[in-house]
Structures are given as structure tokens and as C-alpha cells.
Amino acid sequence: MSEGWLALLQQALSLLFSLDPDVWSIISVSFSVSFAALLITLVPSMVLGFVLAFAHFPGKWFVTNLVQTLQSIPTVVIGLLVYLILTRNGPLGDLKWLFTQEGMILGQMLICAPVMIAMSQAAFTSVDRRAWETSRTLGASWAGAVWAVCRELRMPLLLAIVAAFSRILTEVGCSMMVGGNILNVTRNIPTAIALETSKGDFAQAIALGLVLLILALILNFALGSLRGKETPRSH
């Protein structure tokens, strides 16, 4: 390295704190796309997780295992799938979504939904069925009873959301393929880090890496303090 570590770190920090427009555009693309994907998939995924945990229907075992499998598919494979669907001659080519934020959101939805479904299913399975029955017998409506169960499970459900969010915020394969890394449009934190590194400009890559690192720290400490406040439940 011709540049010292400290000099690079200094450059990176000054990029962040001087509100460098390119860096902040990249950060805002990352967050707006990932939040959109998360919000769209949140309720349907939780509902599906709930149904898989509480209902019995033929093929349940198959669906559960399918979701588990989808969780571990590499993001580049999902990227490839979405690319093929959205390409000019693909089935949804008329949408013209390839290399747009809409396309990226679609890809990230496919990546985060299985994580949320599987983790919320695990959470709902772990809950004491009596919590559900008690609230029903106490005259709670169906929705009220669901709400009671969710309150009971706020910690593991929150963990499911955070895990899903961190997976899509940090994935590079699908964003690169479907978004195309277009400046100010589809360039997000991970694809920008990949590009800056390939150009040999490490300062911006470090600045963006720091953003992800700080975010991870905040999320984990927030979760940790929530956990700390939880009183141990006596069954």
C-alpha cells in the first residue's frame, strides 16, 4: 500500500462527514430499496409464518422445507432468476424493470421473504399454544389473539425482521445483476464497494463499509438492550 491505513481512514471519514453527495446518494439508494422490499414482504411473510406454525394442511411439510431451502440459495442465483424474468425477451420484459430500483426491490423481496417466513414460523411454533387459547377464551377476537401472540413474541419476530433486513442490505450479487450499479439510480452500498475496490479507490469503499459496520453495531446493541429489559418468563 502506497497510502497509509490512517490516511485512508481519514479520507473515508471526511467523505462521510462532509456529506459527499455521491456517498450519500449510494447510502440512500441502499436504504430506500431495502426498506421498500422489507415493508412489502413483512406482513405477508409473517402471516405465512403464522399459518405454517398453527395450521395443519396437506403439503405443509413440503412448504416448510421449501422455505428452509430458499433461505440458503445464493443471492446471485436469485439475481440470475430475476434477470431472466425481466430481460427484454423475458416473460416480464415489457415492464422494463431491468436496471431499475423496481427490479432490485423485486429481487430483494425474494431474498428476504424466505428468511422472514422461516424465522417467524420458528417463533410462532415456539410459543405456548395456551397463550393463544387463553386470549381466545378471554373473549379476544381472532385478530386480538394474534396480536397477543405477536406481543408475546416481539423479540424473536424483531430478530426475524432484522436478520432479513441485514441480508438484503448487504447482498451484492442480486443488486449488481438486476440493478446494474448505475450511478445515482441503482448503485447501492455493496455494489459501490465492489466497484471502488476494483478501481483501486479504497477511501469511498471504506467509508461505505463503515456505514454498514456502524449500522450493524447499532442494531445489535438495540436488540441487546431490548433483550436485557425482557423479564424472564415463568411458564
Partner: protein, 274 residues
């Protein structure tokens, strides 16, 4: 038991040490690290040239293919033994800053302006590359820029400058990807882009794009091979790098560059002159 174990250990240690002694010096003398651009790698030129040089000289060339910007950076940091790039202005700076020595022009090919086959912006009637670029900017159609500090990207920025256009118009799309990926994106969006001819020929069958403008001095694309300054990094494989550079400008090397064809087209013209 214990005895056997400790014997085994010392034996293993000996074997490892011995193999290191034999491998390491051999390795550092044998391997030449070459940083070059994706165009020489993607087109298949190096796969053609290297075996010939390797069998003649006994060296082994390891290729790191990136954009010109990164390749020169690797040279600056002493991570490679020599560079082969195509951005005259950046290369001149690399030599002037004392990182590179003995730059030699070995070959050239040219850049082409690609676009939709029906040429909606009417580039084919242009006289110069600058005029063609100005037409693209006015048309509002997408123009895909590599945006990755590669030789092609640097060339593209030079043409915009010469055309008197600031590249921030409506259709300007900076993608930060390699040449091949950029061509596929231009194909999807049916936009214009600047490409080296080699990569275009290699991708031709996958693309619904045509050459809408080519020729002229502006779009010439000369390649240089540059050694790394021994005064800066004494411990690199300078001997091997020099041998490879010498071979590239030899009669044999130059003839091989000229006879290299992709899809029946000659991609590079050997240009070394004493």
C-alpha cells in the same frame, strides 16, 4: 508412541522446510505478474501469446485483468512486475511520477460507437467522433458509460470534452462495470455506448447492436507495456518482466499479435517500431 509422534513431527517439519526451500526461490524467479486490461484478457489474445512465451523462456505469467486505472494502481503499489494498458494520458503520468520505466507501444486497435441497429440518433452521417457524441447527447437516448476508470472510460471522457458536452445529460448512464457487462446492458436498454472493437467482436453474437460510428484519429486505441521502476521496488521480478516486454516487441511476438483473429477478424495491429 510419544517417540514416534515427535519423530513424525520433526520429519514433517523437515519435509515442509525442504519443500519451501526448493519451491520459494524457484517461484519468485519463475512467475511474472502482469496487470492488464479486461480487453486483452476477454478477447483471448493473452491465451494465444502466453503459452508461446512461457515455453520459450521458462517463465510463468500470471495475469491480473482489471481496468487500466486499477492496473496502473497495482503497478504503483508494487503488486505486479509489469503492466499492459491502453490510456496514453494515464500512462504518461505513471511514467512521469517515477513508477513506470521503459514504456513501449506494442499494438493498437480501435474504439467503436455502438448503438441500436436502426441508429435513431443518425450517427452514421457524422464526420467525426465528437460530432457523433454530440448527437447522442442531444437525442436523449441512453448512453452507457463504463464509469470505472478503465482505458475505455478515460477515452470516452476525452471525447465528451472534445465535443464540448458535459456528460450529465438525461440519457447518461454510468454503470461501473466491465466492458462485456456494459455491452449487455446497452443491449437491454437499446442505448449507445463506446467499446473497444475486440470485446464487441467477442460479444457480437449475443448483441442486437451495431457499429454506428467508427474510424478517425480520435478513436485509435494504442496499447503500451511498461516495466516497474526497480529503484522503487527492488524485489520484483524485473528480469522476467523485461524478458516478457522484449518478447512482445520481438519479430515473433509482433507477428503473433498481427495473426490473432476472433470470428475471422484481426483485432490488434502490431505497432512497435525501433
Amino acid at each position: 508412541m510419544l517417540n514416534v509422534k515427535s519423530h513424525m513431527k520433526s520429519l514433517l517439519g523437515l519435509v515442509v522446510a525442504a519443500s519451501m526451500l526448493t519451491v520459494l526461490p524457484a517461484q519468485s524467479a519463475e512467475v511474472i505478474k502482469l496487470a492488464t486490461t479486461t480487453s486483452t484478457e476477454n478477447s483471448g489474445l493473452l491465451q494465444e501469446l502466453l503459452p508461446k512465451f512461457e515455453s520459450a523462456s521458462g517463465y510463468k505469467v500470471q495475469v491480473i485483468a482489471t481496468g487500466t486505472g486499477k492496473a496502473l494502481k497495482l503497478g504503483e503499489q508494487g503488486d505486479v512486475d509489469l503492466v499492459m494498458t491502453h490510456a496514453p494520458s494515464a500512462e504518461a503520468k505513471f511514467v512521469a511520477d517515477g513508477f513506470g520505466v521503459e514504456p513501449r507501444g506494442i499494438m493498437e486497435n480501435d474504439f467503436v460507437v455502438l448503438g441500436p441497429k436502426n441508429d435513431p440518433a443518425k450517427l452514421r452521417e457524422s464526420k467525426t467522433a465528437e460530432e457523433a457524441f454530440a448527437k447522442i447527447a442531444k437525442s436523449g437516448l441512453p448512453f452507457l458509460s463504463r464509469g470505472d476508470n478503465s482505458g475505455t472510460h478515460i477515452k470516452e471522457l476525452e471525447v465528451w470534452k472534445a465535443a464540448g458536452v458535459t456528460p450529465d445529460f438525461k440519457g447518461y448512464t454510468s454503470v461501473g462495470q466491465g466492458m462485456g457487462k456494459t455491452l449487455l446492458m446497452a443491449n437491454e436498454l437499446q442505448g449507445y455506448t463506446l467499446s473497444d472493437r475486440g470485446t464487441f467482436v467477442a460479444y457480437k453474437t449475443k448483441l442486437d447492436l451495431g457499429v454506428d460510428f467508427d474510424g478517425g484519429k480520435t478513436l485509435a486505441n494504442p496499447y503500451q507495456v511498461i516495466l516497474i521502476n526497480p529503484a522503487k521496488y527492488p524485489d520484483l521480478n524485473h528480469k522476467g518482466a523485461k524478458a516478457f516486454s522484449d518478447w512482445l516487441i520481438s519479430k515473433e511476438g509482433q507477428a503473433m499479435i498481427n495473426s490473432f483473429k476472433v470470428e475471422g477478424e484481426q483485432l490488434f495491429k502490431a505497432t512497435y517500431s525501433e
